[in-house]
Symmetry: C2
Subunit: 413 residues, 2 copies
């Protein structure tokens, strides 16, 4: 008998019919003899509806009150799912974040979980009940309701799995696992039966939206065995996210997957004096406006000047240009320009640590297709390039092919 934490997102509980479906799936796990804790999101559309209501009242609502309003979405779902389980004869009980309690810090709308009380959950599990818990929400030291930010239900599930020392945390979503790349772009994309925690972390942060990055970090920190599964299909084992300890279950490949991210815009600051502190002068102004900078490159320029490039989310493109134009004199830049029709394509793989020449294969393959690389950034297990967004599909396809991602690792040449 295992203890399983299952998490169902907004789409999986988006209608009464789908909630009934989830109930049947939970009942199946229970019938298999497992103890089940279920974490649910708000019904899809509900959070957006509540956000819109709040913004109709006030442009920038108080984060505390925003959390009061938003946390109702998940609260409705837990009650409805409990009813759906009762209606098929499964004993179940629902809990909001504060009832558990899931204790967080005070950062309303983006709180972090500090501690989870597990007494009520354990008692109910011991009594044979399914325990249903509202994701995305908690309670801070002032007894105020907090929320964890978008996608926070994944984090709730992983944190609960960690606190309960669950055997597995299953994230049910509208895809049936993690793929070598987006199947809508490359039809040969293959579902990975396993992926290492580190690779998943890179994929999550690189724009692959299967799992929220904080939940993956959390899983890594507490060694929670995480599995991504489809809530729409009944068969399938999904993708298991593994740790070093699970070496024997891991695929051993140089490259495991390809991620891409269209939400990128490039900013160029040309001909700035090549003096210490120039980077912080430029990026400081951007950071002060709460704009997140992703790739950063500084090139040698000519005659004591340097060229500086970085990427920002596309929605912050114009704002970033405006900020820099205002600061242009202070920075002493010759030119400030940019491009918001770029994208980032990344290859990710634990095997890069031991395989050499992976990056050069990537660059050569793109060159062969006349795809110009604008920026490069690397980590131990990934290589990212910034390219013209019109080449996104082509680049992803040829890289998928050259690294033979359509084949199981052991069948690759």
């Amino acid at each position: 008998m295992a203890l399983i934490v299952q998490k169902y997102g907004g789409t999986s509980v988006g209608t009464v019919e789908r909630i009934k479906n989830v109930a049947r799936r939970v009942a199946q796990a229970k019938a298999n003899g497992d103890d089940v804790v279920v974490v649910v999101s708000a019904m899809s559309g509900e959070t957006n509806r509540l956000v819109a209501l709040a913004h109709e009242i006030q442009e920038k609502p108080s984060p505390r009150e925003m959390d009061v309003v938003l946390s109702t979405g998940e609260q409705v779902t837990i009650g409805l799912l409990a009813m759906a389980l009762h209606s098929i004869g499964v004993d179940a009980k629902s809990y909001t974040g504060w009832q558990v309690a899931i204790k967080t810090d005070c950062a309303h709308t983006k709180a972090r979980i500090d501690k989870i009380d597990e007494i009520r959950i354990r008692t109910d599990l011991d009594a044979g009940k399914v325990v249903i818990i509202a994701g995305f929400q908690g309670i801070n030291a002032n007894n105020d309701i907090t929320t964890l930010g978008r996608g926070g239900s994944d984090t709730s599930a992983v944190a609960l799995a960690a606190a309960l020392k669950a055997d597995e945390c299953q994230i049910y979503t509208d895809v049936d696992g993690v793929y070598t790349t987006d199947p809508r772009v490359v039809s040969e994309a293959r579902r990975l039966s396993t992926i290492s925690f580190e690779e998943m972390l890179e994929l999550a942060s690189l724009g692959s939206k299967v799992l929220q990055i904080r939940s993956v970090e959390f899983a890594g920190k507490y060694k929670v065995r995480l599995r991504v599964l489809s809530s729409l299909e009944n068969s399938g084992k999904g993708t298991l996210i593994t740790f070093e300890e699970d070496q024997n279950m891991m695929e051993h490949a140089a490259v495991s997957g390809i991620a891409f991210d269209k939400n990128q815009a490039r900013i160029n600051v040309r001909g700035v004096p090549d003096t210490p502190g120039i980077a912080s002068l430029i990026l400081g102004a951007v950071a002060d406006a709460n704009i997140e900078v992703d790739m950063i490159i500084q090139n040698f320029g000519s005659a004591g000047t340097t060229d500086f490039s970085f990427t920002v989310p596309r929605s912050d493109y114009q704002n970033t240009l405006d900020i820099l134009h205002k600061a242009q004199e202070k920075i002493g830049a010759h030119e400030i320009c940019g491009d918001d029709t770029v994208c980032k394509v990344s290859i990710v793989g634990m095997g890069m640590r031991s395989h050499v020449g992976i990056a050069s294969t990537m660059f050569r393959t793109l060159a062969k297709e006349n795809i110009n690389i604008q920026m490069i950034s690397t980590s131990e297990i990934k290589v990212s390039v910034l390219i013209d967004e019109k080449y996104l599909e082509l680049a992803t396809r040829v890289l998928h092919q050259i690294f033979e991602l359509d084949k199981e690792p052991e069948k690759r040449s």
Copy 2:
């Protein structure tokens, strides 16, 4: 400086615009120098939406889970109202039932308030904040969410006013006070500036829907000064519900108001043996089906038999007939019949205690219009008659006239 508890119902907070209106009204009270605690209901339609969702999942949902789902309605309103107050520069903080905490018994969907902690409220009031509290909900000893039943927000407001020893509890609704009768039926109906607690109790229980009866009982028990006001109009003092202590503010009239109730059906059980225990035999079967019996009359019959009549809510009419037909043999009744096109009209007034002949004036007035009285029931301060529902408007009109309710009591002949 007074401490005022204001309560706004679902219609008063039914749209974003109306929530903003409520905020302006609260701000006005605050600007007048009063401390304000606001109790709100769910936005109109929201509770019905949630009930419908639950019933789509399960015919008879678990009351505990029903409360989890239903309590979200008020939670959304408190957050939105706090935002609306912030947006006009008023410091405000919202609390759910459990945050206060409003402690109730365990009767889910119809809980009763046991105790209210007032520390958080006092602290915020002392800091100059408006405190907004979700009506209709509380928390039981198990830390489970409870709700007080439909109209429970009135009770929340009165209970809070009692706990805080507020100077006044103002119930804002879509009418501007308590009238001598429904102005849609009698255009001469006059708003009462005051009404005694006992009269209000009779009017509330007789189908006048201005205030929920439990809230009136609560106000009586804890001597909370209650005022009914319009949330749609800005002027007007509404109707103050007074106690014996406020003798000098009270209107002194034989009859204060006329209530009517269309939700009535009459059941006749004819020719039952006139033996002890026959009433409980008949009514026991009805009570076992959770049907609420209102008026009850037992007449002398002939030859050792008796006739038994009572009224039930109209929606329970057929069910009651079915139950009695099944039990007919056991009861030994000659005939079981009924009528669901009846209504109850009642005159209410503290003055009846001292004025004689009120009831006979009522009966004579109805007789003059050829309105047949089917049943009569009386209390110290009211006389109710059951009549054919087609005479409802006529009866109300002629009674309003004969008791001169359109005039202030001191101007009556």
